[in-house]
Every structure is written in C-alpha cells, then in structure tokens.
C-alpha cells in the first residue's frame, strides 16, 4: 500500500479532505500547477490570472485534497491570511526564473510565517521552485537560499524543482507533503 493510500485510510477513505493553501506571487504558476495535479480528463488549462480565490478539489494517489488557490496579485495578497486558520499545509510556489521578485516572494513568505495564525504551528511547508524549464531558472537550492528557508524552525519544509506545464517534479513534492501530514497525525494520537 502506498503512503498516500495509507493516508486516505486514516482519513476514512476520502470522506474528508486535507486543506492545502496554494500561495505564491502572481504569475508564479499556482493555477497551472493545480491543474496539472488533476486527472488529465479534468484539466481546464486556464490561462487567466486568478481573481480573488478559487477552491480546487483533486485526488492524488487516493488522497482527496481541497486546495485554495489564492490570487498572488499584490492587491489580493491581503486575502491570504483569511485562509491560514483552516490550512493543514501550505504549498508555496515560486517562479524560479523571476530573479527580480525573489525578494518579494521572500517578504510575502516571511509575512505569512510570522502571522499569528501561522506562527508556531507545525504545518508542513512545501516550496515549488517552479518554471525550472525556463531560461535562467535558478536551482532549488539557490531559490531556498534566496527565500531564507534555512531560518524556518517551526515548520517542516521541503523544496523541489517543478515544471507545472509538464508536471515534472510535482508528484515528488506532493508525496513529501502527504508523508508529513501522516506523520503529524501519528504524533497527535
């Protein structure tokens, strides 16, 4: 039995969902990434920037995910915090070819981690160094350094390179996330 299947057993065979927040700057590829996580026949290929937020449900290896895809546009970033309390995990998507805005991504990540609804909670943080196929894309370790991930002590975190267009790298990341959620659950009982 795969890890994700075990997870789904604990959760009562998909009767409830794990709420993940998908955050990141605008144009980082959040919606594209969520689209790639769905079964091929359910993909929508939206190319417009997200307005406000949208909820996405998808199954991955038998686990039912409820993902909040929140717009990363500057004037919508204030909406992120409304979802912090219900989140069981966070996926933070970074455009690893947008060198200029790595500092902005870092600032937003730091604001999120310092928020009262997030600070000190041991929820897993998965960072996708997305667009790894693009020209001048930075390696995940460089992105991790630019975001200052090494300074995060209150949450388990993981970074991996991804290409949301082809789907490369996504399953590895999601598998890590599922493992973390299961481990946290075991610790709780």
């Amino acid at each position: 039995m795969g890890l994700l299947d075990k997870l789904s057993v604990w959760l009562g065979r998909g009767r409830t969902e794990v709420t993940v927040l998908v955050l990141g700057l605008d144009n980082s590829g959040k919606s594209t990434l969520l689209d790639a996580l769905r079964p091929p026949e359910q993909r929508v290929h939206h190319s417009q920037p997200t307005v406000g937020q949208q909820q996405d449900h998808f199954q991955s290896s038998g686990v039912s995910f409820s993902a909040w895809d929140v717009s990363g546009a500057p004037r919508h970033r204030a909406l992120w915090e409304r979802h912090y309390r219900r989140a069981h995990a966070v996926i933070f998507v970074v455009d690893s070819a947008d060198h200029l805005r790595l500092v902005v991504a870092r600032e937003e990540l730091e604001l999120m981690l310092a928020h009262p609804d997030m600070f000190g909670r041991r929820l897993p943080l998965l960072v996708f160094a997305n667009k790894c196929d693009a020209n001048h894309a930075l390696a995940p370790m460089q992105v991790a350094a630019a975001l200052g991930l090494e300074r995060i002590t209150d949450k388990p975190w993981h970074i991996c390179a991804s290409n949301a267009l082809s789907g490369a790298g996504l399953t590895d990341g999601i598998a890590w996330l599922a493992r973390q959620i299961r481990d946290l659950h075991i610790q709780h009982h």
Binding site: G12, P74, R77, R86, H99, L100, R101, V103, V104, H136
Partner: protein, 617 residues
C-alpha cells in the same frame, strides 16, 4: 523599518554612465514584463551603447553611433494584436527608431536655410582670394558676430578650429554650407487619443533652436511645430501631460533658468516662470499639473500650473536628480530627490516621508514597473552601479507612520499661529490689573477659597446622608434598567442606574456582569459606580460581544427576530461594598446576532465542526 526590499544585483560587470533622459521602462515584448533600457554614454574606450536589462540582468548591448540624448519606448500603431512598442534613441543629429530592437528608421529634422549674414560670410570664405592669414581671421570675427544660436553646425565647427586648421579646411572645401540641419536637444512622448497603457503615442522633439516638434508615430511627419517662447529658449527636459488629440501641456525646463509651457493650438509657447539658478531637473505632478523643480541653489520648489511659486525647500546638499514616485495603491505621488551627499529623500509635497542612502551617491533615478513588479526604484550610482529596490506591499507613507521625520523645521515654512486680535474687554481688564494688582489677586484668592469650602461642605453632607441610607439596609430607592442596542456580534448594553430618593445619595455601588464565558465577552465586566446623587440618573454603556468559539452550528440558524435562547441569558448584579449578597439583580435576554453580521470564518469553522461531529458519530 525600511519600506524597501533590496534586489541583489551582480554589479561586477555593470558600469553605466548615463543621463536621466536615457532611462526607459518599456514592455518590450508585450508580455507585461517590463525591461529597463539604458542609453549608455560609454566611458574611455567603451563607446556609447543601448543596453537592455531584464530585472537586473543584461540581455542586450547594442552599439550606438553617437552619444544618446534620450531613450523612449512607445506604441506606434493601434492594430490588434498589439505590435510591441518601438524604441526611439535620440542623438543630436538624428533619431534612430528601433523595432524589435532592430534599427528600422533614421529620422532627421527638416533642414533650414542659413541666415543671410551667415551665407554672405561663407561666400567670402569660399573665395580663394581670401584664403590667407590676414583675411580669414577677420571673416572668423564676422562669423562670431552672428548670434551663436542661429549658426549652423559647420560655422560653429569652423569657429572652433585654429587658424591653420581653418586654412586647410577652406582649401579642401568644394561646396559652401547652404542649409543647416537643426539639432535635437531632447525627446519625449505624448499619448495621442487615449491614456491606456498600450495606446499610441507621438514623439515630441525639442530642438537646439528652441522649437518643439510633434511627430506622427507611424510616418514621422510633422504634426505640429511651435517655438518654445518668444525669446529664444533651449529646451533641456520636457514633460508632457494630457492627450495630443484632446488637450495637452508640454512643460519644458530650459537652459536659460526658466520653465516654459506649450499647449494645444498654441503657435508659440509661453514662459511659465523663471528661477534664480539653473534647473537641474523638472517634474510635473499628474494630478494638478503643478511643477516641481530642483535647482543649483540647493532648492526644491513647487509652482502652480499658472507659474506661481507655492513653496520652496532648501536642501542640505546639491540636488542631483528628481523623479516622481507614484504609489497608486496608497493614492500618493511622492517626489524623490537625490542629493550629492548620497541621501535620497522622498517628499509628499514638502513633507519628508522617507529617506534612503546610496553609498556612492545616486546620479540617475527612475521609478516604475520593472519585470512584473509595479513599484521599482532604479538608481544608477555615480560610479556606474545599478541599484534596484522594490517598495514593500505593506509600506505606508502616512505622516503618522513610524520613522518619519518631519521636514518642517520650525520657523521656516510652518504656518504662523492663529492669534486673535486683542479685544477691548481684554485691554480694559489688563489696564485694571496693572492699576491695582494686589487687591485683585487677594479678592480672587478669597473667592477661590470660599468656593472650595462650599464644595467640601456639600460633599461632606452628601456623604453623611448616603451613609445613613446604607446603614438603614435596603436600597429601595435605587433602580436598575438595561437597554440593548446593535445587530451583533457586538452589542451595546447600557445600564441605567437611578436614585429616586429625594435627599439621599448612594455610594459604594458597583455593577457586575455574569455571563456564560463561552458565549459572550464583556468589555468591562466590573463597573465601579461613583457617588449617585439624590434624584439623579447615571448611564453605563458597555460592549458585549457574542462569541462563537466551538459553537453549535445551530446557532447560525436562529431567526433574526426570535430570541437568542438559553445561551443568551446575561445577568447583571448590583453589589455594594461590604455586603456579601447583591443588592439588585437583573437578567437581560440578548437578541441573536444578525446572520448577516456573522464572521464568515466562524461560520465556516462551525460547519467544519459539524462535519467532524457527523463523522465521529
């Protein structure tokens, strides 16, 4: 706390020598990823170049034929899908137009005939008989007598030669200069018919002859030409506002310590105002068209659109550069002023809102969209480094925000205090006081003392009576009522305490709230009641908030008009010092919170709880 995020720029191989007019932020590929274009003057061996940056990374390095004077990007046509913007680079002799960063067209200003006096002199210079060391210097002098500004480039070139060079030059000359090619002094763009980001702009060219020419973006035909001012003025920096086809203003800083303005349908511009010293840079506020200038006398001044000076600040050091910093989200447009000391001050009108420090002093600044980021502050330092800062989303430039130092030094610039005129009454009183001060003072002190005595006496009286009343036991005379206002979740409960006794005051009372802590939160659960005089009423408003921690979701389905049920019973006790049981008690049935006012998250959580319970069951 800084308001800016520093972008790391690998500075090792970037060395830029440029002017403010040579920086442009252009959406070069129409993908909303703005590029930074820099016309680099070069240095030493390095010739002039046009550089294109993506973020802080250089993409392109295009050699230029001459020193660039200005770089602009603009949309030349309306076709859909949009063709990427073209780039214009101005040199003194011509303007190069690039499409997709490939040279596409060279524009020369239309030539003008030489003035008659100049061509007369040239006729003589051309005459072989005059080619000797005696006559040439005389002709040179004659040429010098012609106003320099109307001279052709050839004449000016001729004047700068030594006599030997001149003799050699005239020997080789075959044709006399007949027409002069006007020179470009500065360029900018002006939107044609719409303020939209991708709408078509025309090119505006300021010439050394003091003319402003507007060019069609497509054909490069002259749309209009106007003299800047009746007296010759040389444009140096132009700022356009408005639309060419509707109404526009071109505000121009000139080399002659003045600012001129040119409007639609004017055949000639007008002087707007003159400054004491040379103008370093000019900006126009988009809202009210007021004009900001920094000058060599270390001032930052603001003039109204009519040219009236509104204020002026003296700066601690020589100003080097000026740029506007519009922050749309905050609704403010700040002006950034870079000083030779390395400080960059941001002003909101004349109030200083922020200060940055640039290690080796800024020489050129630009604010706008770079890449995908809207609020980027670009600085080129004196030594040629590129510095990029991004304004934080949470930045605030309010006067009250922390770390703001006021630019207002006392005395200078502050409004004088409003002091009303001395009244007749005041004058007479002061005369009387001067005449017999001692008697007046004594009288005043006496009356003050007697007032204090009366106060003390009545307080004592009230105290005695109140005590009597308490001693008697029952507080029949005190009544307690409550009023509830609001839609919830925060209600205002006003307690009204009334003493109906005709002669006895009540003291030592207090109000205590008794609420289920899971359902309500009282802002002030214990209120000490001050002395309650006879026949008086006191009101105590208190905030009572209904809370929904781990609430049963049924709570969300109560009817608005109905009652809150058992959970909303609030007890109010009136207690008295020294007594173990409450004097009075009242219960208030709180109304249910209006469902429209329920916090969304709480509801959501309530439903989640419900789901969990259902699952566990």
């Amino acid at each position: 706390m800084t308001r800016w995020l520093d972008v790391e720029v690998g500075n090792d191989d970037i060395e830029i020598n440029t002017l403010p007019s040579n920086l442009a932020l252009v959406d070069l590929h129409n993908d909303n990823e703005y590029k930074l274009l820099i016309g680099d003057l070069g240095k030493g061996e390095e010739g002039p170049k046009l550089k294109v940056f993506r973020g802080a990374m250089q993409l392109l390095d295009l050699p230029l034929p001459d020193l660039p004077l200005g770089v602009v990007g603009f949309y030349a046509s309306d076709t859909v899908p949009r063709i990427p913007p073209v780039v214009a680079v101005a040199f003194s002799s011509c303007i190069y137009i690039y499409k997709n960063m490939k040279l596409f067209y060279k524009y020369y200003l239309p030539s003008i005939d030489l003035s008659t006096s100049e061509s007369e002199i040239w006729k003589q210079i051309m005459d072989p008989q005059n080619h000797n060391e005696e006559v040439i210097p005389i002709l040179t002098e004659n040429l010098k007598a012609v106003p320099h500004k109307v001279l052709s480039a050839e004449s000016r070139n001729f004047l700068s030669m030594t006599l030997d060079q001149q003799l050699e030059y005239v020997e080789q000359m075959t044709e006399m200069p007949s027409r002069k090619i006007p020179e470009v002094a500065c360029i900018t763009t002006l939107k044609m018919h719409s303020i939209e980001r991708q709408s078509v702009s025309c090119l505006v060219v300021g010439t050394e002859d003091g003319e402003v020419i507007v060019l069609d973006p497509h054909t490069f035909h002259q749309l209009s030409i106007a003299k800047l001012c009746a007296i010759k003025r040389t444009p140096y920096q132009m700022v356009t506002t408005g639309l060419y086809n509707v109404d526009y203003r071109i505000t121009v800083a000139t080399r002659e310590k003045s600012v001129c303005v040119l409007k639609r349908d004017w055949s000639e511009g007008r002087l707007l105002f003159a400054t004491d010293e040379h103008i370093v840079a000019l900006e126009v506020m988009p809202t009210d068209h007021s004009v900001l200038v920094i000058c060599c006398d270390n001032t930052l001044s603001c003039y109204s659109k009519k040219g009236k000076r509104q204020w002026s600040l003296s700066l601690e050091h020589r100003p080097v550069a000026l740029t506007l910093v519009p922050v749309v989200a905050l609704g403010v447009t700040l002006a950034a002023v870079a000083l030779a000391s390395g400080h960059v001050h941001l002003y909101d009108a004349k109030a200083r809102r922020d200060t940055m420090f640039v290690k080796d002093a800024a020489s050129v600044m630009k604010f706008g969209q770079l890449g995908q980021e809207e609020h980027v502050f670009i600085t080129i330092t004196k030594s040629g480094n590129l510095m990029v800062k991004i304004l934080k989303r949470t930045a605030d430039f309010n006067a009250h925000a922390a770390s703001v130092e006021s630019a207002l030094t006392p005395g200078a610039g502050t409004k004088p205090w409003f002091i009303p005129k001395k009244s007749k009454l005041f004058l007479e009183q002061s005369v009387r006081e001067r005449e017999n001060p001692r008697a007046m003072h004594q009288k005043f002190q006496q009356e003050l003392n007697s007032l204090r005595l009366v106060c003390a006496r009545s307080l004592l009286q009230a105290h005695e009576r109140a005590d009597n009343c308490v001693a008697a036991g029952a507080l029949n005379a005190v009544r307690l009522a409550a009023e509830v206002e609001g839609l919830g979740p925060v209600f205002r409960v006003t307690l009204i305490l009334e003493n109906t006794s005709p002669d006895k005051a009540a003291i030592g009372l207090a109000i205590l709230f008794h609420v289920p802590p899971a359902n309500y939160k009282v802002s002030n659960p214990y209120i000490k009641v001050p002395l309650l005089p006879p026949n008086a009423k006191l009101q105590f408003p208190t905030k009572v908030e209904e809370i929904f921690e781990d609430a049963n979701p049924d709570v969300f389905f109560r009817t608005v008009t109905g009652e809150g049920g058992e959970r909303s019973l609030v007890k109010i006790l009136l207690v008295k010092e020294g007594r173990t049981s409450p004097v009075l008690a009242a219960t208030v049935l709180m109304p249910p919170t209006d469902p429209m006012m329920l916090p969304y998250e709480k509801m959501q959580q309530g439903f989640e709880n419900m789901a969990l319970e259902a699952m566990e069951a």
